[in-house]
């Protein structure tokens, strides 16, 4: 089953770095799997844990939050808050028994199209053996 399984990923990208970085991947015509749907937010610091859980509840197999490199946040310190929150989310996922590998945080600058591409490729690869996420999924 896992062989044909294509995970669905929701990616919260901050507008200033990661979304711009993913734009650069496009401009450079890099290729990565289409499993990821980007949602551009103002800053990684605006990603509430509720967004992450909501995505899992709606049936996402993986969630990515990507922001500017620590210290480079367009809003000075949003990504520091994100980083702290994300550590808690990971623990909480472990606690409730959902593989915490399903959730990822990355730092991608506006110049790092290649890095974004690699992150998506790797994430898809890591999610495949885990199979569909059912634990938090609300039956629709």
């Amino acid at each position: 089953m896992t062989k044909d399984f294509e995970p669905t990923i929701v990616a919260f990208l901050c507008k200033w770095c990661s979304s711009a970085g993913s734009d650069l991947a496009g401009v450079s015509r890099m290729k990565y799997p289409p499993n990821v749907i980007p949602i551009t937010v103002m800053c990684s610091g605006s990603v509430s844990p509720l967004y992450i859980f909501n995505a899992f509840q709606k049936g996402a197999d993986g969630v990515l939050v990507s922001g500017c490199h620590p210290g480079d946040c367009h809003y000075i310190k949003g990504n520091f808050y994100a980083r702290r929150r994300i550590a808690l989310v990971k623990e909480l996922l472990d606690f409730i028994g959902l593989e915490s590998e399903r959730f990822k945080m990355s730092w991608v600058s506006a110049a790092e199209g290649t890095k974004y591409t690699e992150i998506i490729k790797d994430f898809v690869k890591e999610l495949k053996p885990l199979g569909p996420q059912k634990k938090l999924r609300r039956d629709q």
Partner: protein, 649 residues
């Protein structure tokens, strides 16, 4: 209330339509309950495309639209304007990025189409809950800050000041002039560098609109476009410039000799010094790092001999606060770290010089008054080897980029060397000759035809000292022959790197840098002098290596951009700011603690937003436990709908 949404899917020629079935996507979106109208078109951004949108808005009575096209960084403003022209609020237009984030990165048409549909649907869900908003106006401080007093900063400061705005020009060193003041003559005209720069330096010092702050550093910046607050550290020079008569008695009395930075260590200077005779401001600086101590017991000789009593050991560092509306960053370059170039014997053999040192040797104001002499024994070198691309174009070991100016200045070095030593021989090792620029190619030709400079295509493999000569081993890749030259002097065209501390400054200013540490422009083609932060502009080699005319052009460009801000009475700020729901707010104050802009405060037990200070980052909304604060038009409610659309629920 149910909205009447229009969806417009762009083909972008085949850029999108090549990978996404645009027709299918438009039809799919038409099924959405809030979508009244959904079409595709070859170029939405074209005039007919925009007209089509405007007509549809009127005819179908649309109250909001989604354009599915390229990144919002490109055409969001185009389509928002079109929406406004058709009579709907500009914030009722959202962009679904199906090009950079979809069609360009995928190959499988079916999957890409599915993804494009989801991205578009997500934008539809968002716009369905968008509010109509009006930009927030705020006043502008019409003064500018220019950081860096090299030719870039000087030009930018003069241009802004000439337009009638006040400028604060901050320079880290004791004098303005940057690297250009160190140069001998400039290619391709052989203008004397000091002769063309010093008039500009004098103009800066005399300009009524320029406040010059040398020996100063930007310490902290806060605020936003139009209203930046800057803290500038004025380091103590221990000399009162108004009292100093430039008599020079202090330097004679000073017992300390250290390498002179202006001559790149080819000469020495005292701990109290003037960097060079034409320095602006014309005054001495006591370099505290090398001074034996400010207490009269430690030394005190300079103060003893200073007749006008200009030396003040009690001078303290001072922090000056200034308000400005726009900032030009022109922090320049430096040569590649010599520690990394040991293989060429730089720093080991006194007669292996870098390009700037050779400039000093050629300069009439240099350590040898313009005579080319070997630092080791002061003899005239009869054979000189110039090596290009030292550290440049070497992705494995050094810098991957081309430093751009070295081909030209090496040709100039060889030519000027021949003018000084007509019976000498100059060799240039090169990889390629890059002489793009007005009259540049002709200049290079002149070096070979008139001055008999020998160009050798190839890399140098080894340099070592032997019998008072510097032996250079290399290969001429055109003939395939190994070459050995017993030279008297070797000059290395070192790669250019961003100036030290520029990384630190970039952090303070929130400017991004590229992989090599140069300041990143907002768009490589179309916004080359703007940074990603609005109100901050880039000029000169801090952005990338470039030659003087390019630096001057870019500096004038940056100045014009700054003026376009300073000349506004009001600027407008995105109305996508935080908003507090007073019923839900309990006044816990958590949002106030996390706000990076101090835009939130507690008023009568409830959080309140200052709309001008708020940048809309949303950190508050992710922090609030009661969902009492949200950013307009990107609320948690909207995000949940967007997630729903993305996951396909």
């Amino acid at each position: 209330m149910k909205k009447r949404i229009g969806v417009f899917v762009c083909h972008c020629g085949i850029n999108i339509a090549g990978t996404v079935d645009v027709d299918k996507a438009a039809k799919k979106l038409a099924e959405h309950q809030d979508v009244e109208h959904s079409v595709d078109y070859v170029y939405m951004c074209s005039d007919p495309g925009q007209n089509m949108i405007k007509e549809a808005i009127k005819e179908k009575k649309l109250d909001s639209i989604v354009v599915s096209c390229c990144s919002p960084t490109l055409h969001e403003s185009t389509f928002r304007k079109a929406a406004k022209e058709a009579g709907i609020n500009e914030f009722q237009c959202e962009i679904a990025n199906i090009r950079e984030q979809c069609s360009w990165v995928h190959k499988d048409k079916e999957k890409a189409t599915e993804k494009a549909e989801k991205i578009t649907k997500s934008a539809v869900e968002r716009v369905a809950k968008n509010e109509s908003l009006e930009p927030i106006g705020f006043p502008v401080t019409s003064r500018a800050l220019v950081i860096g007093g090299g030719i870039a900063g000087i030009q930018a400061a003069l241009d802004i000041a000439d337009s009638g705005y006040e400028v604060i020009l901050v320079e880290r060193e004791p004098s303005i002039g940057g690297h250009m003041i160190q140069l001998s003559e400039t290619f391709p005209t052989l203008d004397c560098s000091q002769c063309i720069l010093t008039p500009k330096m004098v103009e800066v010092s005399k300009h009524p609109n320029i406040k010059l702050m040398t020996y100063s550093e930007v310490q902290e910046i806060s605020g936003y476009v139009g209203n930046f607050n800057v803290k500038i550290l004025k380091k103590p020079t221990y000399v009162d410039p108004d009292a100093c008569t430039l008599c020079d008695d202090c330097t004679e009395a000073c017992p300390v000799v250290v390498p002179n930075e202006f001559d790149l260590g080819l000469t020495g200077r005292k701990a109290i010094y003037i960097p060079f005779p034409q320095a602006i401001p014309a005054t001495f600086t006591l370099d505290i790092k090398n001074c034996p101590g400010l207490l009269p017991i430690a030394c005190g000789k300079c103060a003893d001999v200073c007749e006008p009593d200009a030396i003040d050991y009690d001078m303290e560092p001072e922090v000056v606060e200034e308000k400005v509306g726009a900032i030009v960053v022109a922090t320049g370059f430096e040569q590649y770290d010599k520690e990394k170039m040991k293989e060429y014997g730089y720093g080991k053999y006194p007669d292996v010089l870098n390009g700037l040192q050779f400039e000093r040797l050629l300069s009439a104001s240099g350590p040898t008054q313009g005579k080319v002499l070997r630092p080791s024994d002061h003899k005239e070198p009869k054979e000189v080897v110039f090596i290009q691309c030292v550290g440049s174009r070497d992705p494995e070991l050094h810098c991957s980029y081309c430093s751009k100016i070295c081909c030209m200045y090496t040709a100039k070095h060889a030519m000027l060397y021949k003018h000084h030593v007509p019976d000498g021989q100059a060799y240039i090792f090169y990889i390629d000759i890059r002489s793009g620029g007005k009259n540049y190619e002709e200049f290079v030709q002149r070096t070979t035809e008139e001055d008999g400079v020998v160009y050798l295509r190839g890399k140098v493999s080894k340099i070592f000292e032997e019998n008072n000569k510097i032996t250079v081993w290399g290969v001429d890749t055109l003939t395939g022959k190994e070459i050995e030259i017993n030279a008297d002097m070797v000059v290395l065209a070192m790669a250019l790197t961003p100036s030290k501390n520029s990384q630190e400054l970039a952090k303070k200013l929130k400017l991004s840098t590229d992989k090599d540490g140069f300041l990143a422009e907002a768009h490589p083609k179309l916004r080359p002098v703007e940074s990603i932060t609005s109100g901050m502009f880039l000029a000169g080699a801090a952005q990338a290596p470039k030659d003087i005319p390019e630096v001057v052009a870019q500096a004038s460009g940056a100045a014009a951009k700054a003026i376009s801000i300073l000349s506004q009475e009001q600027l407008f700020h995105s109305p996508m700011v935080a908003e507090v729901n007073e019923t839900l707010c309990t006044g816990c104050g958590m949002c106030i603690d996390v706000c990076p802009y101090e835009a939130l405060s507690l008023e009568q037990g409830k959080a309140e937003v200052n709309r001008v200070l708020c940048e809309g980052c949303g950190t508050c909304s992710a922090t609030c436990l009661r969902a009492a604060v949200k950013v307009k038009n990107i609320t948690p409610g909207q995000i949940f709908e967007m997630i729903d659309a993305s996951v396909g629920g």
